[in-house]
Subunit: 206 residues, 2 copies
DNA sequence: ATCTGGTTAGACTGTTCGGTTAAACCATAC
DNA sequence: GTATGGTTTAACCGAACAGTCTAACCAGAT
């Protein structure tokens, strides 16, 4: 986590740093993104940066946490009250909201995925652990609840299912990102339906 | 492609170089694998290496081509004669053969995937282009034939389907790799069935 | 014995990486 | 005016990277 001082910075500067970092991480991934480049683009000196952040992972963690909060923040991730009937429609609603945000800030999508190829060591501890935990826990709850309701298959290890769901999601998002120019409200709506359909095919009981 | 001299090397040395490189690329991915480390592990000097290979991509290309040939070489990739009935069983047979090779040389699996995160620029041209072309063409033919037979959905862009299939395949293989110790002939057979089932779910017409 | 040329070793180059440090800057307090 | 201390700068560091270069090696020909 960044030093508390970071919060005392002017909102413009703070946002400029985080946004620059976010775009870089989204475009190049955590490992491949260059600290030097980010700081140069953000118009901040190296010393200043390390005055606020412990290291690269710290900056990444702050960036992800910042944007992930508004990205996943008010989504009805609470599947506890869903029924067998409402399970898929609820998921569809989640994707609809996600994809509507996609239209405004497409690069946030890349950011979420940027940590994928990061070494497990880096991910397991430090500031990245929190958001990684959050993400996997959400999926974990989703699948577990789906199983309780009998709408998610029980014949494959949960671990494998999670990995498959993430792969499908990431691939679809990446494809969507590549077709960025052609997207509008209607296409994004069908994209949400398409995504849920894919998950349904994958996860439905045998 | 490596210099022709490379073929004049003793088979032992040639194989030792390629195998060392393959394991490194499989373990760390193309970008993250260290040339210095590979050469040190292979017991070959830097000068000697660059006497046979133009650069890192060249070594990678040679490595992938070498192992991909025996990996995909004699598989019945010819789906031209398949029927609607035999389509999925044929695919199952392909996976059975693949996974039986998995038992012998698990690291070859990682090798095939190692190029994934490689920059598109590197992949598009140079020695890697050939194998990339081969791989996508195979999938292209598969999906196209499946559509002709009416066993593969027609409502999604082929480009997206290919990406999804690769993602599913890669994820499943990675999972299999992680469970390496627990695998035997029986589990690998069910793994093939599981994989085909996943593809069937994904690709079946609506 | 000497020469030749394919082969090899490994020191070296230039670049980029994440990260450190000493000095300077500058608003505030005295 | 001057001292203080939070902030900033840019030079600098060591490590790692892919790739180059020169000198040496050494089998076979002369």
């Amino acid at each position: 986590m960044p030093r508390p001082r970071f919060d005392n910075l002017s909102p413009e500067k703070r946002e400029r740093i985080l946004e620059t970092a976010a775009k870089a991480f989204a475009a190049d991934g955590y490992e491949h993104a260059s600290m030097n480049q980010i700081l140069a683009d953000a118009g901040i000196s190296k010393g200043a940066a390390y005055y606020y952040f412990d290291n690269k992972a710290d900056l990444y963690g702050a960036t992800v946490n910042h944007y992930l909060q508004e990205f996943l923040g008010d989504v009805p991730w609470n599947f506890a009250q869903t029924t067998a009937v409402s399970f898929w429609p609820t998921l569809l609603q989640v994707y609809r909201e996600q994809f509507s945000q996609f239209a405004e800030r497409p690069w946030v999508f890349g950011l979420v995925k940027s940590g994928g190829p990061v070494a497990a060591e880096v991910l397991a501890e430090g500031p990245l652990a929190e958001m990684w935990q959050t993400l996997t826990t959400v999926l974990d709850d989703l699948i577990r609840r789906g199983r309780e309701l009998g709408v998610v298959r029980d014949d494959l290890p949960e671990e494998l299912l999670i990995a498959l769901v993430m792969a499908l999601d990431e691939t679809h998002d990446r494809w969507l990102l590549a077709q960025l120019e052609d997207q509008n409200a209607a296409t994004l709506d069908t994209a949400a339906e398409r995504m849920v359909n894919l998950l349904q095919r994958l996860l439905a009981p045998a």
